[in-house]
């Protein structure tokens, strides 16, 4: 399978502190990869680095996307190449209405807005983006935006966190649609996008079939394996075992 994303010996700092200490990871075309790891291990920082956020500075290493070195590209250049991200805690955008952002960010925007009710977001289109949104509303807003954006590769940072039981089904099915169903302005088109998903509980795995999982600890990928096997291991023994597991993957 062709590689969609390849990260080679990536080191990155946030402020003075080195967070990523030599990350190696790859995601193939059409593959869904899960990223496990304890709090503070650098998972969200890795996603922010892949997206190109300026709060993180890459000190060495490479990020390759569709074979192209994107390490130095701006956030919008990465988005235009096909990377999309569902943030866990996106910033409030005062004054910008959600509907306007969706229209401005995609030629499919108008089309997708017609389906806003399927995301239970029809009453939020005239609201300022993320301002006063609850946890579930933020997730639904992010998913609606990504549905319009139609990326080829999606970073999902804890898609199920902060979501009540009533909404988890909706969020799970919309993530599934986004990854497997696809949608184009020309009508429904079957497509299978690649993704990297951070999850602590594994709840989202009830909705999407993950192909591979990585475990991140202290700024490095320390092992990889089958998602359900690793999840079971982590649930039973925590991340302690990872310290002794030396299955450093070779890319």
């Amino acid at each position: 399978m062709t590689e969609m994303l390849k990260i080679v010996d990536l080191h990155a700092v946030a402020g003075e502190r080195e967070i990523l200490k030599g990350v190696n990871l790859s995601v193939s075309e059409g593959e869904t990869c899960v990223l496990f790891g304890p709090n503070g291990s650098g998972k969200s920082t890795l996603m922010a680095t892949i997206m190109g956020y300026s709060t993180i500075e890459v000190t060495s290493g490479q990020i390759l996307f569709k074979g192209e070195d994107i390490t130095e590209l701006s956030v919008d250049q990465r988005a235009k190449l096909g990377i999309g991200m569902m943030m866990q805690r996106p910033p409030n955008i005062f004054g910008v209405k959600l509907g306007d952002l969706i229209k401005a960010s995609s030629s499919c925007g108008e089309e997708v807005l017609k389906d806003a009710s399927k995301f239970k977001m029809q009453n939020f289109l005239d609201r300022e983006v993320n301002v006063g949104f609850s946890g579930g509303e933020i997730k639904r807003s992010e998913l609606l935006q990504l549905t319009a954006q139609r990326p080829d590769f999606i970073l999902l940072d804890e898609p199920e966190s902060g979501v009540d039981l009533e909404n988890i089904d909706l969020i799970g099915s919309k993530v599934r649609d986004l990854l497997y169903k696809g949608r184009s302005c020309m009508g429904n088109v079957q497509r299978h996008v690649s993704s990297l998903v951070i999850t602590h509980t594994g709840q989202i795995l009830d909705y999407i079939g993950a192909d591979r999982a990585y475990v991140m600890k202290e700024g490095r990928i320390c092992c990889s394996g089958r998602p359900m096997d690793l999840l079971k291991e982590i649930k039973e023994n925590g991340y302690g075992e990872c310290a002794t597991c030396q299955t450093m993957i070779k890319l």
Partner: protein, 401 residues
């Protein structure tokens, strides 16, 4: 009105409390003998009018009144019961009672600018809505400064009587050749009981123009007053601190939207006296500094129990070189009040720009979207012509102008 004119003559030397002091002797008097225009849509002034939200073809407007320099140039009202529109001088000859409203809300000794208007018996627009009438479409007025090195000196009176309502758009502008000129505009506004007035003032001046509007509003019981102020283009020196006095149960809302370009000095805001029990006020200021000087003032004075008021000054700095001041003030004279303020000055947060960029917008598009939203978020229902001006001003700013 003062007992004698001496106090007012003395006030001719009185500097204003805020803003640079302008030497009135630098300017000649603007002419009172101006061209009468019957169809403003076909006039040379159309371009200037539309820049400040005044619809030249007068569609969906209840009436239009225009001053060029110091003379009435156009006055036309659609057939509408209960609405009077004319110059103040004409109204004074027609309505004997009007003299009781002259210089009642505004003290002519306030500063040299009000004193000048008083002593020169400045003319201006008179708009009155009679008791019980609701004027359907907005009334628009235009104040055009058309002669360089002159002072436009006007005194306006607006009266919305009990149980009546009105929306007013007043656009003020300079023509291209009248850059170095001065506008002094005194407006006294009286809102009766159970009445509504929305008063939107939109300015577009020259890079050297001096501007000193003086606006005072008296709001009756259980009435609502909204004051919108917009300035997006470069100006020389502008200072204004409009005030409102609220009776029992009355509300006032001040919305200000400003861009301070390089070379511009803007000092504006709102002052509300909450004199009646249960009155309420909100002052919202959104400004952008593009290298100019911007001072956003807000002052709330709680003089009665059960008043509620909030003040918000937010400013984005896009370019170095200027200065930005946010001056929120709260003053209470009774215990039972609820008054709050917040102020924020700074650049646009990087994470907001990058969030929009992650959706595929380039950096300029992201900044424009945030700036446009930031400014227009303060005023609901911006007229389309003004929305165009706002877009143009933001586009210009992105080009580094």
């Amino acid at each position: 009105m003062p007992d004698n004119d001496k106090a007012v003559r003395d006030a001719l030397d009185k500097k204003a409390a805020y803003g640079a002091d302008i030497d009135l002797d630098r300017y000649d008097e603007g002419s009172r003998d101006v061209e009468r225009i019957s169809d403003v849509g076909k006039s040379d002034y159309k371009e200037y009018m539309e820049k400040v939200g005044v619809v030249a073809d007068e569609m969906n407007r209840s009436g239009t009144l225009m001053f060029i320099d110091n003379g009435l140039s156009h006055c036309h009202a659609q057939p509408q019961e209960g609405l009077d529109m004319m110059s103040v001088h004409e109204a004074l000859s027609k309505f004997d009672w009007l003299k009781d409203y002259m210089w009642k809300a505004m003290d002519p000794t306030k500063d040299k600018y009000t004193a000048k208007s008083y002593l020169e018996d400045a003319d201006g627009y008179f708009i009155r809505v009679r008791s019980g009438y609701h004027v359907k479409n907005p009334v628009q007025t235009c104040m055009l400064l058309d002669t360089d090195r002159t002072v436009q000196n006007v005194h306006n009176i607006v009266i919305v009587e009990d149980n009546a309502s009105l929306e007013m758009i007043t656009g003020c502008s300079t023509s291209h050749h009248a850059n170095d000129a001065l506008h002094v505009g005194v407006s006294e506004i009286y809102v009766g009981d159970n009445a509504n007035l929305t008063f939107s003032m939109i300015h577009s001046w020259g890079k050297q123009t001096g501007v000193r509007p003086r606006t005072a509003t008296v709001v009756g019981k259980n009435s609502n007053y909204t004051n919108n102020y917009v300035i997006l283009n470069p100006v020389g020196s502008l200072q204004s601190f409009p005030s409102a006095s609220l009776a029992e149960g009355a509300t006032a809302l001040y919305n200000t939207m400003c861009i301070a370009h390089e070379g511009s000095d803007i000092d504006t805001g709102g002052l509300v006296y909450l004199n009646g029990r249960g009155s309420s006020a909100q002052i919202m200021s959104r400004s952008i500094s593009m290298g100019g000087h911007m001072c956003a003032r807000g002052r709330l004075v709680g003089n009665a129990p059960e008043v509620k008021a909030h003040l918000e000054c937010r400013s984005i700095i896009m370019k170095d070189g200027g200065s930005t001041n946010a001056v929120p003030e709260l003053e209470a004279h009774v215990a039972d009040v609820e008054m709050t303020h917040e102020a924020a000055v700074g650049k646009i947060a990087r994470d907001q720009i990058e969030y929009l960029m992650s959706r595929g917008l380039d950096e300029d598009q992201a900044v424009s979207m945030i700036v446009r939203g930031f400014l227009s978020g303060s005023i609901n229902g911006l007229p389309p012509a003004l929305q165009k001006e706002l877009d143009a001003a933001i586009e210009q700013a992105n080009l580094g102008d």
